[in-house]
């Protein structure tokens, strides 16, 4: 925002800050209220944010962790592509080109410039005072397969692409673009509906931002924003300074790329020094033929999540809070996909969250938990419902044991740390909506990594199919164990066993398999890594674990050295 020379007291600054945050939250309420697609209004798979005219993040609403940091990257790319001089009051721009949009092609970013009209010339655009940005997951944009695309080999198999295209121009809808979207989607009503919901959220934010400027005057708002940004940066730097300083490297593996069976190497070097947080993915695999690659913006977004959890978990973010972050990844590698490398299953980012923590744990074993199962074990069934004759595609994200920490045991079976607000789907819902019958869903004895503090336990889920269809396993970490810390033990990895006990029995990771009634699948989700030597565990805690069934009497004796005869 413009140079301002107003004296701003700490009360006024806080009041302006509260109003800006409330505006972002109101955008969120508007999006939820008007969206058509349950992934938006139930899973909250969206990110909303507000910027000043210099593209600095001012406020954001609560949403999906990975989405929040991604908007900053997309907005900068989008404005650069369109050109500031081509933006007018009432314009709204759509962007989903993965390499600029910091996401896969089904995450659609809409952004709008905000102009403050000039009372002397109300017809003109007025002054550009900021930007608003809303990202949301769209149900379908015409990729090669319905639902998830697990095996694309270039971007053009992943749907219709918009590089920064006006869907509203000077307040008027651009009909041709709306029709183009409609004719390229398998679920046009949902997608067009969601587009309008995003527009409604942007309009709400625009109205509120202009009200705030009217109420306080632009110099005061500018001064408040400047102060928020400076404060955000100072907070992050202070928090970084309080952390151990140094450089740490970690390696880990993604199971495969969905095309071949070869494990894919990830490597990260994290440095905390001089008030900066540097994450370098040098040494990671080249981009793979299959779609597990990350656009660079998505890589940056995941690093923001880690930085936030380390430095300001309870404070709203703004531009300043991430100024100390630097992310490096060679173009053309796993963490920096370039055109036309496929990116649809970019959930590599989930595994990479733990990779970064693994590096950090070397420098701060007293602050970082051990591995939390390594990944989000997801599955989906696609088929035709026997009662309705309609196609269904229903997914679930399963729970894993969280890593033990220096102070306490890891949480038993919970949603993975990378998106821990997500919920698993009830058995009663899964059985009613799909052709799956569940024979067991229980915590697994001895599945948590042993240690002075024990990793949380994972689950055993046994599925029997009652109708024909396809079963999709969506998991990238089944071949290597979740890591432990300080002499704790590593638990068994996630396992997806299709057709157990038959001659077709196989362990799979990300895979689509045909199933018939009577077929079975068993999922064993991983526990968390242990922390510290199990022999140092409080014997009372071991006995309690045995009584509760988290640890067997045998493991208590063999691993923990607690024998109660």
């Amino acid at each position: 925002m413009s140079e301002a020379n107003v004296r701003l007291d700490g009360a006024t600054a806080e009041v302006v800050r509260s109003y800006l945050l409330a505006a972002a939250e109101e955008m969120r309420a508007t999006l939820i209220r008007t969206s058509f697609n349950p992934v938006i209004y139930e899973v909250h798979d969206f990110g909303l944010s507000m910027y000043d005219a210099d593209l600095r993040l001012v406020a954001e609403a609560t949403g999906l962790t990975f989405f929040l940091g991604a908007n900053d990257f997309s907005l900068a790319k989008g404005v650069e592509y369109v050109g500031r001089e081509n933006l007018h009051r009432g314009d709204i721009v759509l962007l989903n080109y993965p390499y600029w949009n910091a996401a896969h092609s089904y995450d659609a970013t809409l952004f709008a410039p905000v102009f403050q009209p000039d009372p002397a010339d109300p017809e003109a655009d007025g002054t550009l005072v900021g930007f608003l940005c809303v990202r949301a997951h769209w149900m379908d944009l015409g990729a090669k397969d319905p639902g998830y695309v697990l095996d694309s080999t270039d971007m053009h198999q992943e749907g219709l692409i918009f590089p920064g295209t006006k869907v509203f121009s000077r307040g008027e809808p651009v009909r041709e673009i709306h029709e183009l979207i409609r004719f390229n989607s398998r679920m046009p009503d949902l997608v067009i509906g969601d587009l309008h919901a995003q527009v409604a959220a942007l309009r709400t934010g625009e109205r509120r931002l202009l009200e705030i400027l009217d109420k306080f005057g632009r110099p005061t708002v500018d001064a408040a924003v400047q102060r928020m940004v400076e404060d955000g940066e100072a907070r992050t730097r202070a928090a970084l300074a309080a952390l151990p300083q140094g450089t740490w490297t970690a390696e880990d593996w993604v199971d495969d790329d969905g095309i071949t069976e070869d494990p894919v190497k990830m490597r990260v070097t994290v440095t905390i020094a001089d008030g900066r947080f540097t994450v370098d993915f040098d040494g990671s695999a080249p981009a793979t033929p299959g779609p597990i690659n990350m656009p660079f913006g998505a890589t940056v977004a995941l690093c923001k999540v880690i930085l936030k959890s380390l430095t300001s978990p309870d404070e709203p973010s703004n531009h300043g809070t991430t100024v100390p972050l630097e992310v490096r990844a060679e173009p053309g590698t796993l963490f920096h996909a370039v055109y036309p490398q496929p990116t649809f299953t970019l959930w590599t980012g989930i595994v990479a969250v733990e990779l970064i923590l693994k590096a950090l744990a070397q420098g701060m074993p007293d602050r970082v938990p051990a591995s939390s199962g390594g990944d989000v074990p997801g599955f989906m069934m696609v088929g035709t419902h026997p009662d309705t004759g309609q196609m269904f595609a229903v997914s679930n994200n399963d729970l894993v044991g969280w890593g033990a920490t220096p102070d306490h045991d890891g949480m038993n079976a919970a949603t993975h740390v990378s998106g821990s607000a997500g919920r698993s789907t009830p058995i009663e819902v899964l059985e009613a909506r799909t052709g799956m019958f569940f024979e067991r869903l229980e915590m697994r004895t001895d599945s948590g990594g042993a240690g002075r503090h024990r990793g949380g336990v994972g689950l055993r889920r046994e599925i029997r199919f009652t109708t024909p269809g396809e079963f999709l396993s969506v998991i990238k970490k089944t071949r290597s164990r979740p890591w432990a810390l300080e002499g704790g033990l590593e638990p068994d990895p996630n396992q997806v066993i299709v057709f157990p006990g038959t001659d077709r029995e196989a362990r799979v990771s990300t895979k689509r398999v045909k199933v018939e009634p009577g077929d079975r699948v068993t999922l064993l989700t991983a526990g968390g890594g242990g922390h510290g030597d199990p022999r140092e565990r409080d014997p009372e805690a071991v006995r309690r674990d045995v009584a509760e069934g988290y640890v067997s009497a045998e493991a208590a004796r063999e691993i923990y050295g607690v024998d109660d005869g």
């Binding site: 890593g403 949603t415 915590m443």
Partner: protein, 687 residues
């Protein structure tokens, strides 16, 4: 000896620090109000003390209505009974797993831990017997498994109360009933909570959680009600004893003992029931409640005359499938501490509570609070606080503000205190906008009903800020919650999950499910002393687009034809979400609310006075005016002397001992025929 016809009603509300007791004489409409300290260790004693303070002759009391958060506190403080769970084989962990999620305000905390569980895993057992998603038996219940499970729970695990919840039981409760019978036969001394007795809705974790919490609090709740009943009877009480429910209405103490679940979130219910009653009496369809106490600010939407309820609530992280008012809370109230965080002024979330309390209480509090700011701004007369019962240390409050806030910020003391109000207000504006936007409304179509000790102090300021056209201040705002309880009907809610698409629904089958639910509701009311002829049965359907999870509650009449239901659904959906779709509709739950009307306390109309408010004028005081943002002279009025028809313009302070209404310049107060203060903009300010 005979005594007069019982004509007194008593409402007693237990809060965190005080027990509020309100007496209504139905012959004269006169109300009296007293407070007594809460006695957490023996909670019934505080209730009896408050009644004693009122001096009411319990033989004259026809109705005693009670609001208690005993069940809530038992959960929060983990003081419930040792509880066990019997579930399906292979699914003993439904309760411990939940849905796996971490609360969203902890989503960046990679070391999060769940709060202590209510049930140890060793006290959870699976038994053979399984239903499918249509409620058909896939495997018979194994009675030996059930007996053995009960034996282990009771004899080895020391369990005194057992929750039973099986998969898909909402469609077929037979296995649960059998299991309960077997447990009760073997262990008659053990309390058994059966999921389908409490709620017949889908989703196993949510149903199990509701059942477990019921099991956990039932024995202690029962003991409490027994004690209280005995104590009241000893003093001659022979009337009807009702207990407030979380989602509106009340139930008899007998029902409450077997369904304590419905009391857990009833804390704010009295105020909301009262607000709906006021809304009806004043002909205001849309009302926002604005209740500020010591530590929090609660707001709830009253829409078309009815408070917005939700059918799923939360206690800590436990979901509860019970109706409860949809209340939004901001952690900021009179006791919230103002402090500087890197030079920015913050209010709350820490609270000075009742002890040590704000600096001005002189009980050792050293950190300035919202109340200290109010005193410094001149809104509260230090000599007349609580009717003069407690002298406030206004100089100490001022000094704390100067040292800790004003000087570091480089502001004057008044400006700093006003800043505290600004910050609190900015947060409140956000919350109020959100709760109305979510319902698809502009906040400017609402009136604001202000109660709680500090409600009238802040509400006119909020209205000014948001363009809300009217603030209503009821009589004795700090006792409004207890008064509101007097307006509660006897209510029972019965629901059934059906999950059929609207187009495919067999109308006769729907009717028969409704009839079954209605019969259950009517029987419950009859057992609570409401004759069949006086029971009102309201029917509603929860409907959603096929494939979606969230649903809308559509009131329905006799006509259940698909096009009629669809039209009603679309009207609501359009209002809430701004659009409708052509997709198929699915009926999720059928709901019947049985209502036994209790005669409402009449809002007494008073004859208009001469219109000259100066009769109530007691003096003047310097205070901070937000209209001009300066300290200026406020006229001070005694509320007790204001009469209907009076009008006065701000800046003015209207004192009534336990609370003060602060009216800024540009605002006008009119006294309506019931004695409510209506705060609006002056015609000049409007223009």
């Amino acid at each position: 000896m005979t005594h007069p016809m019982p004509a007194i009603r008593l409402a007693v509300d237990i809060g965190g620090t005080f027990v509020d007791a309100m007496e209504l004489d139905t012959r004269t409409h006169a109300v009296r109000f007293r407070k007594a300290p809460t006695t957490p260790a023996r909670p019934w004693e505080g209730v009896l003390t408050a009644v004693e303070l009122l001096g009411t002759d319990l033989r004259e009391v026809e109705l005693f209505i009670h609001g208690t958060t005993l069940g809530l506190n038992a959960v929060l403080e983990r003081r419930g009974e040792t509880t066990g769970i019997i579930a399906n084989e292979g699914f003993r962990d439904v309760f411990l797993l939940g849905r796996g999620n971490v609360p969203s305000d902890h989503m960046y905390d990679f070391q999060y831990q769940r709060p202590e569980s209510l049930v140890r895993r060793a006290a959870t057992i699976g038994v053979r017997g399984r239903l499918d998603y249509k409620g058909r038996v896939v495997e018979d219940l194994d009675p030996d498994d059930v007996r053995e499970a009960a034996r282990i729970l009771v004899e080895e695990q020391g369990v005194r109360t057992i929750a039973v919840c099986f998969l898909h039981s909402y469609l077929n409760p037979e296995h649960e009933k059998q299991a309960a019978r077997l447990i009760r036969e073997a262990y008659p001394q053990v309390t058994v909570s059966v999921s389908t007795d409490i709620v017949r809705e889908y989703r196993e974790y949510e149903r199990t959680s509701t059942t477990v919490l019921d099991a956990y609090i039932r024995p202690i709740f029962e003991r409490y009600v027994d004690r209280l009943e005995a104590g009241l009877a000893e003093d001659g009480f022979d009337g009807r004893f009702l207990i407030m429910r979380s989602g509106g209405g009340s139930m008899t103490s007998g029902v409450a003992k077997t369904s304590p679940m419905h009391t857990v979130l009833s804390g704010p219910a009295g105020g909301i029931v009262g607000a709906a009653h006021v809304a009806a009496a004043l002909g205001r369809d849309n009302l926002l409640t604005f209740d500020i106490g010591g530590t929090s600010l609660d707001t709830c939407v009253i829409e078309r005359g009815a408070a917005v309820a939700a059918y799923e609530a939360k206690l800590e992280h436990f979901p509860l499938l019970i109706p409860a008012y949809d209340i939004r809370t901001i952690g900021a109230g009179g006791g919230s501490v103002a402090h500087l965080d890197r030079g920015l002024l913050k209010v709350g979330p820490q609270s000075a509570g009742a002890d040590p309390g704000p600096v001005c209480y002189g009980r050792g509090g050293t950190r300035p609070t919202v109340t200290d700011a109010a005193v410094t701004l001149g809104y509260v007369d230090p000599d007349r606080f609580l009717g003069g019962d407690m002298r406030l240390h206004d100089e100490a409050a001022r000094e704390a503000l100067r040292e800790q806030i004003a000087e570091p910020l480089g502001l004057g003391v008044e400006a700093a205190a006003a800043g505290i109000f600004d910050v609190l207000l900015a947060r409140t504006v956000g919350a109020v906008r959100q709760i109305t936007v979510e319902r698809g409304h502009d906040p400017r179509v609402f009136s604001l009903l202000a109660f709680g000790g500090a409600g009238p102090l802040l509400a006119p300021l909020l209205a000014r800020e948001m363009g809300i056209p009217e603030v209503i201040v009821p009589f004795a705002p700090s006792g409004f919650s207890a008064w509101g309880m007097l307006a509660a009907d006897i209510v029972d809610d019965v629901s059934r999950t059906v999950m059929v698409t609207l187009e495919d629904a067999d109308l006769a089958a729907l009717e028969s499910v409704f009839a079954e639910a209605a019969a259950e509701a009517a029987a419950s009311l009859a057992a609570q002393g409401i004759p069949a002829g006086q029971a009102v049965l309201e029917r509603a359907m929860e409907v959603r687009y096929l494939g979606q999870e969230h649903s809308l509650t559509v009131p329905v009449g006799r006509d259940l034809r698909p096009d009629v239901v669809r039209a009603a659904f679309e009207e609501l959906h359009h209002a809430r979400y701004g659009h409708v779709m052509d997709n198929q509709l699915q009926i999720l739950n059928l709901r019947v609310r049985g209502i036994g009307r209790i005669e409402k306390p009449e809002l007494p109309r008073h004859a208009p006075g001469d219109g000259d408010a100066s009769r109530a004028r007691t003096g003047r005081r310097d205070a901070y005016d937000f209209g001009t943002r300066a300290v200026t002279e406020f006229a001070v009025y005694d509320r007790a002397k204001l009469e209907p028809g009076d009008a006065l313009d701000g800046p003015a302070l209207i004192d009534e001992g336990t609370s003060t209404t602060v009216v800024h310049s540009g605002q006008r107060v009119q006294v309506d025929p019931f004695g409510h203060l209506l705060v609006t903009l002056t015609p000049e300010a409007r223009a």
